[in-house]
């Protein structure tokens, strides 16, 4: 397809507007990290090829999520990981409530603030698990904890963070 510079610029702006939220949505669905960029790219190619009018709006976000979910499912099937996802309606409802009108930026900001309040072992476990990508067993041996205790710390910390985010977003 021939693209003039104005079209290319509009496409780039469109991708930049939606790519962060779409990656987050795929992570929410359980899409492995190393698949996400490919699924995001394929999603844009599919929608742009369908001659739909796309923009920085909620309708376009909805189109992108629907197509991304479908492409992710197809990829899972091809990879032999066919366990069903949750009910799409429930996933959609949970995601739209989370992302609200800002694609999740408000939640991300609230999370930053809540993480700043976190200290000690919970903060360390989170940093190692999400930041360094360490396995639970590695975290456990570094901190002198059983794997079950690491899981428990993660669970409790996520619950604390969820409550903290909800309080901040309600303000």
């Amino acid at each position: 397809m021939k693209l003039d510079s104005a079209q290319a610029g509009r496409i780039e702006a469109l991708v930049r507007h939606h790519q962060g939220s779409l990656r987050g949505y795929l992570a929410f669905l359980g899409c492995p990290r190393d698949w996400r960029d490919d699924v995001v790219q394929d999603t844009f190619l599919a929608l742009l090829g369908a001659r739909l009018e796309l923009g920085p709006d909620a309708a376009t976000s909805g189109y992108l999520r629907t197509v991304a979910r479908h492409l992710f499912l197809k990829r899972r099937e091809r990879a032999g990981r066919g366990a069903p996802l949750d009910d799409p309606a429930l996933l959609e409802e949970a995601w739209t409530a989370f992302a609200a009108e800002d694609g999740g930026d408000g939640t991300a900001e609230a999370l930053r603030e809540c993480l700043a309040l976190l200290e000690g072992r919970p903060a360390e476990v989170l940093r190692r698990h999400y930041g360094a990508g360490e396995a639970l067993v590695t975290i456990g041996s570094a901190l002198g904890l059983e794997v079950a205790s690491v899981k428990s710390v993660l669970l409790r910390t996520r619950t604390r963070l969820r409550d903290c985010i909800e309080r901040r977003r309600a303000r």
Partner: protein, 362 residues
């Protein structure tokens, strides 16, 4: 809201927090914009065909089909939005919509058949599918004016009952003078099919005959609830006709003319805009009273979307008052539907709506 039990809800919430944490701690992700543009420029095939995408985006059918008329009227009104947005400045700063490929001839023919051949459209309860097809058709006409005569042929075929879209509902929102020729032909055949909004929209395109019909409609207006020709009156008032102004004034003064159809803010909005444009500043107070009472009523009954629709109507009125040259009667329903759709896309919070209402009162 879909029913969600507590463990299910907690599991989903955990996953939401999980992905948010992952995003927080991860290195800044790659910008995929250049990659997508390069893939398009290199002709990388899309992983889905346009038809597959359309099927994916169509919501699943639920239960018994609703009456076609309701569906098609709403669909046709929303339809030209895509086309109109290409031709008029958007109300808010935003990148223009993307149109990447012209609509091919075969697709144009298929659209004409699907939309205007009686019974040709597959049964669907998805207004979005028809809206998308109408948007594509409007785009096809804008891209290639030589296609207009074929549209005329499709619209003017003798038997139209059972078609997916009523020709007048499509034509009047196009705001294109080329819509006048088929409109005149349809008038010759069945003038009774023309509603107030059709006459006002075609008069707005500068057609003297339709203006005369709008004048006749206003001159013979009966003071019946919901049947006062408010759109024709607004058009005439904005073009210096005192009878139009008088009818609008009475429509807003006499709440009986408007209260029986409270879920249609378009009528009251058209009347208010025209009166304000003519300098009748008290029209604003009357409009606000109507909006407040209607929103309060909807909120009290738990109808949050309807309450939001009226608040959006007020926002639309403010936007048009700020840029009166962009006001078009033919676009009025489109604008309101578009705003309502935006509201529908996000959860509606009753407290937030009440705050909006309180702000309106100040």
């Amino acid at each position: 809201m879909s029913p969600r039990n507590e463990p299910e809800e907690r599991a989903l919430d955990d996953r939401l927090i999980d992905q948010a944490l992952e995003r927080h701690f991860a290195a800044p992700p790659k910008d995929l914009a250049p990659r997508v543009v390069a893939a398009l420029a290199a002709g990388t095939p899309a992983p889905l065909t346009p038809d597959e995408v359309a099927r994916l985006l169509a919501p699943p059918a639920r239960g018994r089909a609703r009456p076609w008329l309701v569906l098609t009227a709403a669909a046709a009104l929303v339809a030209a939005l895509f086309w109109l947005q290409r031709n008029e400045p958007p109300p808010e700063p935003a990148p223009p919509p993307l149109v990447l490929a012209p609509v091919p001839e075969a697709r144009f023919e298929a659209l004409l058949t699907a939309l205007f051949e009686p019974g040709a459209h597959p049964p669907t309860e998805d207004p979005g599918l028809i809206v998308r097809e109408l948007g594509e058709l409007a785009r096809a006409l804008a891209e290639e004016p030589a296609r207009w005569p074929r549209l005329d042929t499709a619209l003017l075929a003798p038997e139209r009952a059972g078609a997916a879209v009523a020709p007048l509902d499509f034509l009047h929102v196009l705001t294109d003078p080329r819509a006048l020729a088929p409109a005149r032909a349809l008038w010759q055949r069945d003038p009774g099919a023309f509603a107030d909004i059709h006459l006002a929209s075609f008069a707005e395109l500068g057609d003297a005959d339709f203006r005369a019909e709008a004048e006749a409609l206003v001159a013979n207006a009966e003071r019946e609830p919901c049947s006062a020709p408010v759109f024709s009156a607004a058009y005439l008032a904005l073009h210096g006709d005192a009878r139009g102004t008088a009818l609008l004034d009475s429509a807003l003064l006499d709440s009986a003319l408007l209260t029986p159809c409270p879920d249609d803010p378009a009528r009251a909005l058209a009347a208010t805009f025209a009166l304000l444009a003519l300098g009748a500043s008290d029209a604003d107070a009357r409009w606000l009273t109507l909006v407040r009472t209607t929103v309060e009523d909807h909120l009290a009954r738990g109808r949050r979307l309807r309450a939001a629709a009226w608040l959006e109507a007020d926002a639309a009125l403010r936007a048009w008052c700020a840029a009166p040259e962009t006001f078009r009667l033919a676009r009025l329903h489109l604008e309101l539907l578009e705003r309502e759709e935006r509201r529908r896309a996000t959860p509606l919070d009753a407290d937030a709506l009440a705050r909006e209402l309180a702000a309106l009162k100040r």
